[in-house]
Structure formats: C-alpha cells, structure tokens
Amino acid sequence: MATTSAARRRTPAARRNIVVNRSWLKSALGVAILSVLLFPLYWMVNASLLPSDELLRQPPVWFPINGTLAGYASAISTQGPHLVTSFIVSFGVVTVTLVLAAPAAYALAQLRVRGGIPLVLVLLVVQMLPGIVMANSLYGVFNQVGLVDNYIGLILADSTLAVPFAILLLRTFMHGVPRELSEAARVDGAGYWRTFWSVIVPVSRNGLITAGLFAFLLSWADFLFAVTLTTGRSFEPITVGIYRFVGNQTTNWNGLMATAVLASIPAAILLILAQRYVAAGVTGGAVKQ
C-alpha cells in the first residue's frame, strides 16, 4: 500500500523522468545487442589492421593498438585490379538497369496498361529463380555467342539480378507521383516521351538513385555469375578474388580482411545515402507497401 500511495504522490514530471530513464535503459540494451550482432564486422576491421605477427596470437589481440596499413597495401596491390573490374561491371549494370527499368516502371505505374499486372507477377517470379539455374543456362547460352569472359556478358548476367527489382521498386515509387502532374504536361502539349523525360524522371529522382544504388550493390556482391562466367584469364571481379584468396592454404589474413573491408564500402555508403529506402528495398519492392 505504501508503495502505491508513493507512486500516486509522484508529480507528472517525476513520472516523465521514469519513462525517460527507462527509454535510456532500452538504448543501452539496444547498443549491447548491436555490439553482439555487429561484432563480426568489428573483428574483420580489427584483423585488417593487425600486424601479421599479432594475428595468430593467443589470447587474441582485441584492439589494433599497433595497427598497420600493411594489409591494405597488400590488398590494393593484389586485389586492386579486381576492385576496378567490379566497378566497371557494376556501373554497366546500373546503366542497363535504369535504362530498362525507368520507362517500364512509368508505363506500369502511370499508363494503366493492359497486361501490366501479369508482367509485374512475372517480374516477381523471376526474382525467385535459383541463381544456379540462371548461371548454368547463361553459361551454356553465352558460350555459344562468345560472351563468357566478357565484360558485356557479365554485365548482362548481373543485370538480371537488378532489373526486376528496380522495375518493382520504381513502379511503387512512381505510383506516388500524382497523375495530375503528367496529365498537366499532356494538356500543355507534351508527348508521352517528353512527359516521361521532363516530368516523371526529375520527380522520381530519389527513386532512380535508390534503384541505381541497389543495382550497383547487387552486381558488386554477385559471386555466382562472376565465378561461372569468368575464368580469371582476362579479368576477375572482387568477389571471385576474395574466394580464391580464401582458398589459398597460406592465407594472409590481414590482407584478406583488408580486402573484405574494401569490398564492404559500397554497402556502407548505400546504407548512409539511401537509409530511408533500404527498408523498402528489402522486400524487393515486391508488395504494395
């Protein structure tokens, strides 16, 4: 009884204090959970900075106090060309994806086209195709037309990861553009193409950036097409570089982890730039959200 009356005597300000305190407690707990879940990432960064004699020490060296950039130097000298390759391929994929997806999304979102829904369903289904099936058959097809070990071949293959996703994402985005806007342009005498280019594209800039960033990231991270459609004779993307690096018996762990950190940078940038849309992107723009 004493406690309840004490509670009743608390002023509203005191009660607010309790709520505030409790929410800071939640923040502390949240930070604790996060540090457990993200510990592997810290461990990657830590290893990338440790000098090689401290890497295999027991007990482990928890902080890179004697940090060195030697790992990064070896990463750039051995994996640098692979990073460049991945950049070229990813930019190609972004271009192909946006050129195909933006007009298609415009038609699906704004021009109420017959057959639009079936096409959206097809795009949803093809996203679910197991990658290994695509790799298996694209290898067969590309072999016949000389696109194995070829930048264009890899760009086209990687674009299959991004195009359906980008169309669905942009379609959701362009649904949000008031139809009055494009109708007004039409009344002013603009053609459909002009309306698309001068009204829809500028208004959808954020959506296009998000779709482009995801296209970049999807092809940057691609390993399956990279390992099946290149032989390493002429060029090799970074994911394959890391895979072969891991496979070496005498693994140079700080070089490998430095490479892994470098290969993670696009993901980190994406998270910073497109934070608001990443969550929407998780569902593949699949559903009406």
């Binding site: 592997p40 298609a104 038609a107 949803l124 067969g140 390993f223 982890m257 290969a263 959200q289």
Partner: protein, 323 residues
C-alpha cells in the same frame, strides 16, 4: 487479403490507395495502350531473352547428355529423363536433400525468432533507435562472399576468435573443428546464414508491427492483459499475414543460398554441407555433367515455384485493390 497492406509505407506512397478512381478516358482514345507498350517493349524483350530463354535452355539441357564437348560440337544427344534418374539414384542425393531441408528450416527458424524479438524490441522509438535499426542492416547488405570470408576467420579452428574464447572460458577442452568436421560443417554454415538473415526478418516484421493500431494494445491492457498475453493475443494474430510473407520469401531465398556455403566449406567436408544449390554447381562446373546440374536446378525451381505461387496469390489480391 490484408497481408501485404500491413507492410510499411515507403515515404513516397501517397494516400490514394483506397480511394476508388473514376474511370478516365484517354484523350487520345486507343493511343495510350500502344504508347505504353512502347515503354514496356524493351523490358518484355529483355525478360524473354534473359529469363524465358534460359529457363527453356535449362530444361532442354536437363534432357540431354550435355558435356563440355557439347559447347563446341553442338552435339548433345537427347536422353529423356536419364539425367533425372541418375541424379535421384545418386547416393549423394538423399544426403543433399536432407542437408537442404535442415539448412533451410534451421536458418528460417532462428532468423525468424531473433528477427521477431528484435522487431518487438524496436517497436517503440527510444533514443538512438533509428540509428541502431539501420546499423543492424549492415550484415544483410554486405556481399555474401565478404560475410563468408570474415566468418571463416572467426571460425578458424586453431586461431579463430570463437574457439579461443570458448577455450578461454573453459567451455571446450579442445578447439572445435567448425568448418572441417562432418558433424559441425552444416551447423556452422547455418549459423552464419542465420546471422545474415536476421536483418531481413527484423525489417519486415518491424513494418508489420507498426501497422498494428496502438489502441488495440491499450484495450488489451485495460482488460488486464500482461505483455505476454498482449503479444500472444494481439501481436501474433494481427501479424500473421506478414509472418507468412516473411517465411515464404525467406524460404525461397534460403534454398538458393550459394555464396556463403561455397566460401565457408565448398559443400564439404565429404558433402556434409552440400545443398541442392551447391551440388548443382558441382555437377555442372566441377564434373562438367551439365545435364545433371540442370536437372538438379530444375528440381530447385519446382520447390521455389510452389512457394512463389503461394506468395503471389497474396500479392495479387493487394494489387487488385490498388488498381
């Protein structure tokens, strides 16, 4: 169906969803469909060339004796279902199917439970909650090969931090061969895949939770429900459609996991962590039995398709409402 409507609204979505629009006649009469087709045509051709044809090609490959030579000579004799019988009667097949099921069920279960717990934890905003939530997405955004490589370092038998910690705490007497023993390999790759999949589950479930009206919880608490009862009787039933979406998408994505297993174990040792996906790869690109690789791939398609269709049914309803 309400399933997908319960998902979060992206920032651009206007509120026009529910309002029925009066049918509007295009000023150009029949012009519009053809114009729309012009915008869609490149994509339609692309889908046919890069999805339709490969699916057909894969099917055709699986019915032929397709070897490396076939690529150069163009000769690949038709053998009917021989590849399928060869694959199914292979002693590896049973093990691989079992591995795939264990890997998928184990991944889904733990991803989902942890993801749901985190979603509930983040349901109400608190200081830093937005920042923490977006940082949690990092494991999901990293290239899978990177995640595989860094876990290979953590799980390394002699100098990996996990074994060193376990030994330091005297929880194990000798280092656990996480990736190199047949007993542990599948468990280890599943563990890593759980870590990768938690953010995906959390984000979608978090969105679902946001759509549950706060008033329902207030009513439940007024009726004397505790937090657990509120969770069981308010959260779970209302979240069910979203849960279904998460699990179906999760399943479709998990059976095709390739990168993580390839980097961590390559499907070994002795096929202890081989799934249908990695086996299909091994058949085609290690043994050059492309017909058999394609056959395994087609079995995977069938599984994915069944669940994809269930998923599509719910999406289609919500799209009809939207139009």
């Amino acid at each position: 169906m309400t399933s997908t409507q319960a998902l979060p609204a992206p920032p651009t979505q206007s509120r026009r969803g529910g309002r029925p629009r009066p049918p509007r006649r295009s000023r150009t009469g029949l012009g519009r469909p053809w114009v729309a087709l012009g915008f869609l045509l490149p994509t339609i051709l692309y889908v046919v060339a890069f999805f339709g044809y490969p699916i057909y090609y894969n099917l055709s490959m699986s019915l032929r004796d397709f070897t490396v030579r076939s690529f150069y000579t163009g000769e690949a004799p038709f053998v009917g279902l021989d590849n399928y019988t060869a694959v199914i009667s292979d002693p590896v097949f049973g093990q691989t199917v079992l591995n795939t099921v264990l890997f998928t069920v184990g991944s889904l279960f733990f991803q989902f439970v942890i993801g749901l717990a985190l979603a509930v934890f983040f349901r109400h905003n608190f200081p830093l909650s937005g920042l923490l939530r977006s940082l949690l997405l990092l494991p999901w955004l990293l290239p899978l090969v990177v995640s595989g490589a860094l876990w290979k370092w953590i799980l390394a038998q002699d100098y990996g931090v996990l074994n060193q910690t376990l030994e330091g705490l005297a929880l194990v007497s000798s280092p656990v061969p996480w990736l190199t023993s047949t007993e542990w390999a599948l468990i280890s790759v599943t563990l890593v895949n759980v870590w990768i999949g938690i953010p995906f589950n959390m984000v979608i479930l978090y969105g679902g939770l946001q759509a549950i009206p706060e008033s329902l919880y207030e009513a439940a608490f007024l009726d004397g429900a505790g937090p657990w009862q509120a969770f069981r009787n308010v959260t779970l039933p209302l979240l069910r459609p979203v849960i279904a979406v998460v699990l179906m998408l999760g399943l479709v994505y998990t059976i095709k996991v390739f990168d993580v297993i390839m980097v961590l174990t390559g499907g070994g040792p002795a096929q202890a962590s081989e799934t249908l996906t990695t086996w299909s790869y091994a058949l085609s690109f290690d043994e050059f039995a492309f017909g058999q690789g394609a056959a395994v791939g087609n079995l995977l398609i069938v599984v994915a398709l069944v669940f994809a269709l269930i998923y599509l049914r719910s999406v289609r309803r919500s799209m009809k409402e939207e139009q």
